[in-house]
Symmetry: C2
Subunit: 433 residues, 2 copies
């Protein structure tokens, strides 16, 4: 089967491919997070990333990838391989693929020299190589680092090369690539494309199959709005994406958003870039409440998450990670005979921990977790994954819930922290302001 042709310009739809260059990306150590940023920026212009490629620092392999990419998309954004070392061969690969010579360009050299001068340095031999750009390419200035990027048209596509350092790539996408594509590609369309809109809903507590069932029939057939589901230990993420062909899709997106909210209701704990810990933090702040956490199996993860939010010191008073029984007795005032009678992992001890931390810290809410994260420590009656979560809001009984989680130690810790924060979230909403 032949390659599919690029989209016809008249339908105002443009596609892109990201190409991450670096041998480290192939064999471990780091995932390619640059491509997500690029997809978002291009999406805001109405350009859809359809393919992502990752390739090592090998000139022949990079040429291969470039040739494939320009055949199937309108815009190819390469990141990495522009540094001063011998490994870096993106410039050479583009020159080889396009049959152009590398030429030292004055504007590239001037920008680099000016930048290095700010740091009291002059370009070294490796850096001088960075000013060599394929002939007739446009030089893209790098406002953050020394390596300039470049862009050129080839076989009907725009081929853009940027450094792999996230801060440099981001500044150049915003400062150089967006203006370039707007003026030179998007202006060729009869009407500029609509931005790609993506809405994300984060749910907790429903298995993926149940989320799927609740959303069945949501998106009308032939609609260009796409529904996506993604399960992880932290819950199921639901996304709606409108691919920017016409404004009707965007109106549809609005309607569907309301429908998703109605169908999933309070299983949704956050939307977009929002997080469980930020949501819980806002609810606590709005109500003027303070919190302290007593953790056993989660080992500090809940307090760590709560304190990831800027300004959390206003409502997080303290956390006690009570791994030993003695710590539960010392720090939380859990009666030793309660532990002896019911065991450290029990409804009763979870309740005593929540009450203990609330009273000791003199805060509004005490939250507790005790459980068996594994891999050791499980028994037939108390298996790995058994977790009790307690919440003492100072009004009547302590609320305690039992959970049975699956997964390895790290997953059980994650799920337990999510369940605890979600219990708190629901309690705060129900309590009202």
């Amino acid at each position: 089967m032949a390659s599919r042709p690029r989209s016809d310009r008249s339908d105002r739809s443009f596609t892109a491919e990201t190409v991450a260059i670096g041998s480290e990306l192939l064999i471990g150590g780091r995932s390619d997070s640059n491509s997500l940023f690029i997809a978002e920026v291009l999406g805001s212009l109405g350009i859809e990333v359809k393919f992502k490629s990752i390739v090592g620092d090998d000139r022949g392999d990079i040429v291969q990838v470039i040739e494939t990419a320009v055949r199937r998309t309108d815009v190819v954004i390469m990141t990495g391989g522009l540094g001063p070392t011998v490994d870096d061969c993106t410039r050479e690969a583009v020159a080889a693929a396009t049959g152009r010579r590398l030429v030292r360009r004055k504007e590239a050299l001037d920008g680099m020299t000016a930048r290095l001068a700010q740091w009291g340095r002059v370009p070294n031999r490796g850096q001088l190589q960075q000013a060599r750009i394929p002939s007739r390419a446009e030089v893209l200035p790098n406002p953050v680092g020394s390596a300039p990027g470049f862009a050129l048209r080839w076989k009907g596509a725009w081929l853009v090369a940027l450094p792999g350092v996230p801060g440099e790539m981001q500044a150049m996408m915003r400062g150089a690539v967006v203006p370039l594509l707007t003026a030179r590609l998007l202006s060729s369309a009869e009407q500029p494309p609509q931005p790609i809109s993506r809405l994300v809903f984060h749910t907790w507590g429903l298995p993926e199959a149940d989320v799927d069932a609740k959303l069945r029939g949501l998106v009308p057939k032939r609609s260009l709005v796409e529904l996506g589901l993604l399960a992880s230990p932290m819950g199921v993420l639901v996304s709606l994406t409108a691919k920017g062909r016409c404004s009707a899709d965007h109106r549809m997106l609005k309607t569907l958003t309301e429908e998703v909210r109605a169908r999933l209701n309070d299983w949704i704990f956050a939307e977009g870039e929002d997080s469980m810990e930020a949501v819980v933090g806002r609810l606590l702040s709005e109500r003027g409440l303070t919190i302290a956490v007593a953790e056993s199996c989660t080992g500090g993860l809940i307090t760590h998450r709560l304190t990831q939010v800027p300004g959390s010191s206003a409502y997080v008073d303290r956390g006690a990670v009570c791994y030993s029984n003695q710590a539960k007795i010392d720090l939380l005032g859990v009666p030793p005979d309660l532990i002896a009678r019911y065991g450290a992992v029990s409804r009763e001890v979870a309740a005593a921990m929540a009450r203990g931390i609330r009273q000791q810290a003199a805060v509004s809410v005490g939250l507790s977790v005790t459980g068996i994260a594994g891999p050791g420590g499980g028994t037939e009656t108390k298996p790995v994954g058994l977790v009790y979560i307690g919440l003492d809001g100072g009004e009547g009984d302590v609320l305690v819930k039992e959970f049975r989680f699956h997964g390895d130690r790290s997953v059980i810790k994650q799920r337990s922290s999510q369940a605890a924060l979600d219990l708190l979230r629901r309690w705060l909403i129900e309590r009202g302001r």
Copy 2:
């Protein structure tokens, strides 16, 4: 330029491409971690992953990617798109690309039925679709989930389709793909290829430029061993990779490993899959020591990391996250006038916190952190990123170190936790058994 031919079999070198399928992978929410696992497993067979591709749930786009991949590599491992929903179109794409029909296969159906029966269920309509496999493909049983995989030879390459769920993919790579490639691909080489060996060294405390300088001239020119450096908030990772062409490279790798260890010395805190928290845990266990942690700006992250290690309950007694001053007074016995005089973020309070938690928990070692994670709370004399770490080993004075970190709140928390655990590591090594 034409596509490069696949490697000649006689040089015993085989190449691979991973293809991750799923629209979610293009636009956010998750990075493709499956490909790193696959690269490792294939590397152990001497098969080098040269390309990674990511493509959405679009049949035409998947066909495009398959055609490119089989042209340039010997083994193509696809993950995702084998589920029961309409989105899932990997089966259809492979059928379309190879011109084969999809046939419901008894062995696929039987395996799935048996698995679902264990859960007390029968296959539904969507799941029955999962038993449809391209004709003449080999069915790869899924020992963990319901979706079977498959493998077929096409245009001289092996094309393998696996589910995207990491646990299922991993079990099938080990249980089905490795035996298949060993018997049907590697046996075709005159000599089986050498495994790709990759050694990783994790360093903390040296900037990337200093690591680079220390390793200059390490790898001889024209050697097939590759040196890689990768900086992150948790330190600089150094890797040596030998690509399995001949045993001389592997002897070289051994020599270079010794040389890296000699040059970087105790800046290396762990090697391979080992982690800072596991290293520190082993050092504590070997010495029969116990630990308690008093955290302020790290908010529980240090205790969370220590308790990620299975069996850590043997040496982690407790952690106290003292966000408020009152918590420092209550839980750690820090004198209020010390806080008033020097401030909560000070050398003196760090020392009092470490001593306080050690005495209160009656453990061997007390570790403390106090600092300003930002974005608010900084002053001219005490800026965001100022962090004090204290260690009380019960012998003489409390050890306190000052750090000035850069980055956002999350990065400062990460760096502080790494610095604290590294201080503990160095102290434990120096102390001896």
